[in-house]
Every structure is written in structure tokens, then in C-alpha cells.
């Protein structure tokens, strides 16, 4: 008779043991710290809107709180949130927990079971870890989509990620079926405050163009790493291509005309210098879509490339 409770407890442990093991996973975050995170987190707080919150939303997790931006004379918002996912603070249950630094008390008040933060966020990681398991993403040294993949691993949503990757692969195949990307040169440029800014791979737009296999000018391929490099107006011809992509920030009220004016500020009459501009082969893309590390952005960008590059006649560089 005295063995009955013991046997019952043993049976419970044998049945529940594997389930308990699956309820959490041990991971090593960007600071080299081992943390135990729930396998299926229910109350996630994200402390970077564009890198983490938007990815979470696309992976099907609505965080209980998020970092956001606080533009002058405007309500706090999730940068790119509404444009890419439809979610923002004003139309969802996502609580705004501050900007830089996030308010650790506001985070604590949400009683999260998982906190995702970055090396960019200045809220103290030690304080965050005292609230809930906290995974730190070193976004300043990580590729955007590497961050995305890690978000999926940490939140147990890799199945969802696989579907998104499969969709993106099919979209690249679509471009490949329409043109031979290796025969077409492209570049992405941006002007700001009288300077020409160029990256080796400009966000999601650069990813689509490189993954599809388009050729880039040697001056862009020569940019090491993915740091922004600044050039003078004299360098414009180095970035000429069959198609040039120019970005403009919708959320700052910018338009394609403003982007053209900014390029003109760097070198008046730039359009006459550039083959792509002379032949109407400039493609203007909202910066929020071009730079957002999401699969919805990749969808939009593959469609833009399909219609503006693959789906038209053009004058090739040098003709």
C-alpha cells in the first residue's frame, strides 16, 4: 500500500518528463550566455521594432509589448509595422514599452515569459534577465535574415519560417524563368545631405537582387562587409547600370521626386551622366520595403523586380 503513492509519482514523472523537457529549450545568445527559453512562448516582449517585432508578427507571434519610435508630434509607432504587417500600437494589443532605452518597469508590468532584445538597445540586460529569460541579438554584427532565422529558433517557429523560405525560393525561380539575371547589371543608391550613400547589399532589396543573380558594378562589389560607404558626386558613373534602384522614406514623408532632388544635390544634372536615368531605367522603391528584413518585403520586392526589370524592354548599358 505504501508503494502506491511512489508508483503513482513515478508513473507521472515518466509520462510528464518528456513533456517537461519539450516545454523549454536551452540556447546561447549573442552575449554567450546560456538561457532557458520556453518552447512555445506566450508573452513575448520585443525590444527592437524593425529587426524583431516585425519578424515575430510575420512568424505568427503577436508580442505583448514592443519597442517603438516616437516621431515628433506623433503617436509612438512600430516602424514599418503597419506597412509590412498591418500591426501597430493603435490597432492591436501590443503595448508600447519605450524607445531607447526601453522602460524596464513597463516590460516587467507585462509579465513576459520571453524578452528579445539587441545590442543596440540600451535597457540593461541584467535588469531584463531579472524579469524573464532574455535573448540578446547582436544585430550590429549579424545579417538581417540571420537575425530573422534566430528569432524563429528562439520562439519555436522554424516550421513557419520554412514555409516562408519556400515561398521566397519560388519567387526567385519566377524571376529566373523570365530573364537571365547574370546578363543584367543593377545598382542601389541613395543620396542624403549632399552625399551619395552606397552599400554592398542594400537590405532586402539587395538580398533579392543578389539572390536572383543580377550583376553589380565593380565599385559596389568592391565594398567590403556591408557598411554604408559615402561617395562624392564624381563617383556617379561608377554606379551606373542597366537598372538603378533609388529608395525614399515614406514614413518621413519623402517622395520619389524628393529622392531625385537629393541625388541632384550631390551632382546637379546627374541624370544626364547616368545611362539608366537617361533611358528611364530608374526604379524608385519605398525604403521601408527595401530595407525591411521580412519575407513580405521580399515578396513585394521580387514582384517589383519581376515587373520593372524582367517585364519590360530596356536599353542595355553601353548601347
Amino acid at each position: 500500500m505504501t508503494f502506491k503513492p511512489f508508483l503513482a509519482a513515478l508513473a507521472t514523472a515518466l509520462v510528464a518528463g518528456p513533456a517537461l523537457a519539450q516545454d523549454s529549450q536551452v540556447l546561447t545568445d549573442g552575449t554567450g550566455t546560456e538561457i532557458t527559453v520556453p518552447a512555445d512562448p506566450q508573452r513575448v516582449v520585443s525590444l527592437h521594432d524593425t529587426s524583431l517585432t516585425v519578424a515575430l508578427l510575420e512568424l505568427g507571434i503577436v508580442p505583448v509589448g514592443s519597442h517603438g519610435r516616437t516621431p515628433e508630434n506623433a503617436q509612438p509607432n512600430i516602424r514599418s509595422g503597419k506597412l509590412i504587417t498591418g500591426y501597430d500600437f493603435d490597432n492591436s494589443a501590443i503595448e508600447f514599452v519605450g524607445n531607447l532605452p526601453a522602460d524596464v518597469e513597463a516590460v516587467a508590468a507585462l509579465e513576459p515569459d520571453l524578452i528579445l532584445t539587441t545590442d543596440w538597445q540600451t535597457a540593461d540586460v541584467g535588469q531584463l534577465r531579472s524579469i524573464a529569460p532574455t535573448y540578446v541579438f547582436p544585430i550590429s554584427t549579424m545579417d538581417d535574415f540571420e537575425v530573422y532565422r534566430t528569432v524563429a529558433e528562439v520562439t519555436g517557429t522554424t516550421d513557419e519560417l520554412e514555409k516562408l523560405e519556400a515561398r521566397y525560393g519560388a519567387q526567385l525561380d519566377m524571376i529566373d524563368a523570365l530573364v537571365t539575371p547574370q546578363d543584367i547589371t543593377v545598382s542601389v543608391i541613395q543620396a542624403n545631405a549632399g552625399e551619395l550613400h552606397v552599400w554592398n547589399t542594400y537590405g532586402s532589396l539587395g538580398k533579392v537582387l543578389r539572390d536572383a543573380g543580377f550583376a553589380f558594378p565593380a565599385a559596389i562589389d568592391a565594398i567590403e562587409g556591408n557598411e554604408r560607404q559615402i561617395f562624392s558626386g564624381e563617383s556617379y558613373p561608377d554606379f551606373d547600370a542597366d537598372f538603378i534602384f533609388v529608395t525614399y522614406a515614406v514614413e518621413r514623408g519623402e517622395t520619389p521626386a524628393m529622392a531625385r532632388a537629393a541625388l541632384d544635390e550631390v551632382l546637379p544634372g546627374w541624370c544626364e551622366v547616368m545611362h539608366a536615368c537617361r533611358n528611364g531605367q530608374i526604379v524608385y522603391v519605398p525604403r521601408e520595403i527595401a530595407s525591411s528584413a521580412t519575407y513580405d518585403s521580399l515578396t513585394a520586392l521580387t514582384q517589383i523586380v519581376a515587373s520593372h526589370v524582367a517585364g519590360r524592354d530596356y536599353v542595355a548599358l553601353g548601347q
Binding site: 532605452p101 524596464v104 540600451t122 535588469q127 531579472s130 559615402i230
Partner: protein, 356 residues
């Protein structure tokens, strides 16, 4: 038994054997009492206000050692209390640094940023964030401290003359080196990666948000080490107010006092800046405010200065933390917003008095 004798303006405190006697300015002592009371009131308010709503009975229960919930314990003991204490300590240290610098340079506009301490710390941390992002967050205080001390040593070395130290030379070199360092910092912020630059700017604004008990311990140790030095130097400082030549004539060890005051000023500012970033105006305003509150000797003035700095940064941090929560305004921004009008008012009041 100690005895206390009162005159109209001073209280004289004598030991039983009358071997030690202190003549304390009545107004100064009253002002110290009021500022201590004000500081305690701000501390109480800091424990009460915040994004995590905690009612007064719960707060009292938590402070008396009863755990209402682990989350509330965490908010009170790990977030609010160390933060409030760090704000007070940092304010006092920046204020005393300013007082030391103003005394040694005999220039009322001297503060830690004048001789490049803040700029040195800023350059070191911005370089770490923008150029070497792989460096861990936790090393920032050490890096900032190294930068602050390095620049202070550079200015001191450049201003050294065999014929004796010139205050004007020291100040001008400090301004020049500060400007040079600031331009390098600006270049890094302009041409560095935008996300890293934003992170660096946040640190540059000066914030107490990440304060921990470890910071409280470190700052307390610095205060315990440096505050007695400044009090010990108060006699020499009072003579130095009359000018270097007069002080030397009266037999004061001016040279060593100068080195001592610079070391104390740099130590206070470097330790504080290393932990919370540059906090503008505290070192400039607090000594002036203390002087306006009560005319006193150097020792009492140092205590008043420390209290004024503590109150100023504590108020700044409380407002920055709670007024627009969850948006966190850095204490450095608030000290500047509060500091500039107060400083202008103090200057105008002084000017008006001199006309009378």
C-alpha cells in the same frame, strides 16, 4: 559632553575638553538639513512612481521586507532603489568635481567638460560602440574611465610649465583638447553605422536607467575615497580663493593642493561619467547654487554643493523616468533643461546684487 554655543550667525560646537571646536554657519547648517530632507523626499517619491503601478501599502510592505510578489520585489529593490541612489551619488560627485575645478582654476565657469573629462569618456565609449561593436556593454564604464583619465592627464601634461602652472593655460588647453576630441566623436557619429550611432547618442545623453547595486557600491567607494580628500583640502582651498601668490605667501602647499584638487575633480567626474555618461551642467550649477543658498566656508560649501548636485540629478532622473513613461528621457537632457535657466537666473541675480 559636547556643548553648542550660539551667536546670531554661527553655531560653535566644542568638544568636552575644548580641544576641538567647530564654528558652523547657522544658515549653512539649516540649508544642509533642508537639502537632506528634500533629498529624502525625492527618494521616497522615486520609490513610489513608475510604469509598474505599486500602491503605498504594497510599497511599505515591500520595504519592510515582506514579499508581496517577486516582480514587485524586483521593481523596488533592483530597479527603483539602486537607480535613485545612483542618481544622488552621481549628482553629488559631478557637483564636487565642478567645485574642485572651479577652485583650482579660480574660474566660475569651470566644470568637468571644460578640461575634456566628459569628452574623453565620450570619445572612448563612442569609439567602442561605433568602431568596435563586438566589445561587450559591460566594459563601457572601464573604457569611459580610461578615456576620461587619459584626456585629463594629457591636458595636465600639456599645461605643465617649469616656471609654475598657469590657470589660463590650463583652461585654454582644456578647451582646445575638448574641441579636438569632440570633433573626432562627431566624425564617428556622422560616418559610422546609423544604428550604432543612435546607440552611442543615447549613451552620450547621460542616463541613470541601467543603475544596479554594483554601481551603487562602486560610486560609494569612490565617494568614501575622494570626499575626505576634498574636505581635508578645504583649508588650503579657502586660502587659494585669495589667489595663488597670496596662498603661497601664507604658507599653503599650493602646488600639492592643486594636484590633489585636479586628481579629486577628475576622479569624481571620471567615475560618474563612466557609469552614466556625460551629465551636463551639474558641475557648473551646483557650486553656484550652493553659494547662493548659504555663504559659508569651503567645507560646508562642499557639503552643500554635493547635496545640490544630488537633488538636481535625482529630480532630473525622476522626471525623465516617470513624467513621460514609458518614454525614458535621459537625466542629462533634464539637467540641461533645468540647468540652463537656473544658471542664467543665478547670474542675473548676482549681477543685480552687484549693481545695488
Amino acid at each position: 559632553m559636547n556643548t553648542l554655543a550660539r551667536s546670531e550667525r554661527h553655531w560653535v560646537l566644542r568638544s568636552r575638553t575644548e580641544r576641538i571646536a567647530l564654528r558652523l554657519p547657522a544658515r549653512g547648517i539649516i540649508a544642509i538639513g533642508l537639502l537632506v530632507a528634500l533629498q529624502l523626499a525625492i527618494l521616497s517619491l522615486s520609490l513610489t512612481l513608475g510604469s509598474y503601478e505599486i500602491d503605498l501599502p504594497t510599497l511599505m510592505a515591500t520595504l519592510s521586507g515582506t514579499t508581496v510578489s517577486a516582480a514587485i520585489d524586483n521593481v523596488i529593490w533592483q530597479f527603483r532603489l539602486p537607480r535613485a541612489l545612483v542618481a544622488a551619488l552621481v549628482g553629488a560627485m559631478m557637483a564636487l568635481s565642478g567645485a574642485a575645478m572651479q577652485n583650482v582654476t579660480r574660474n566660475g565657469l569651470a566644470d568637468p567638460s571644460l578640461i575634456g573629462i566628459s569628452q574623453g569618456a565620450a570619445l572612448a565609449v563612442v569609439a567602442a560602440i561605433v568602431v568596435f561593436p563586438q566589445i561587450e556593454h559591460g566594459l563601457r564604464p572601464v573604457i569611459a574611465f580610461g578615456g576620461a583619465l587619459g584626456v585629463a592627464a594629457l591636458v595636465q601634461a600639456l599645461s605643465y610649465q617649469k616656471r609654475g602652472n598657469s590657470t589660463i593655460r590650463f583652461i585654454l588647453l582644456g578647451i582646445g583638447v575638448s574641441a579636438f576630441i569632440s570633433s573626432i566623436t562627431s566624425a564617428m557619429l556622422t560616418y559610422g553605422d546609423i544604428d550604432r550611432a543612435i546607440s552611442a547618442l543615447s549613451w552620450l545623453a547621460g542616463s541613470v536607467n541601467a543603475a544596479t547595486w554594483s554601481d551603487v557600491h562602486v560610486l560609494t567607494l569612490w565617494c568614501l575615497a575622494l570626499a575626505p580628500v576634498i574636505l581635508a583640502l578645504s583649508r588650503v582651498m579657502s586660502v587659494m580663493r585669495m589667489g595663488e601668490g597670496t596662498a603661497i605667501g601664507l604658507g599653503a602647499p599650493v602646488k600639492w593642493a592643486r594636484y590633489g584638487l585636479i586628481a579629486v575633480g577628475v576622479g569624481f567626474a571620471a567615475a560618474a561619467t563612466a557609469l552614466v555618461g556625460p551629465l551636463g551642467f551639474v558641475g557648473l550649477i551646483a557650486p553656484h547654487a550652493a553659494r547662493r543658498i548659504a555663504r559659508s566656508g569651503v567645507g560646508v560649501h562642499a557639503i552643500l554643493t554635493a547635496l545640490c548636485g544630488a537633488v538636481l540629478v535625482s529630480v532630473a532622473d525622476l522626471v525623465g523616468r516617470a513624467a513621460f513613461a514609458p518614454i525614458q528621457l535621459p537625466a542629462g537632457l533634464i539637467t540641461s533643461i533645468i540647468g540652463v535657466p537656473v544658471f542664467i537666473y543665478l547670474l542675473q541675480r548676482a549681477a543685480a546684487k552687484s549693481h545695488l
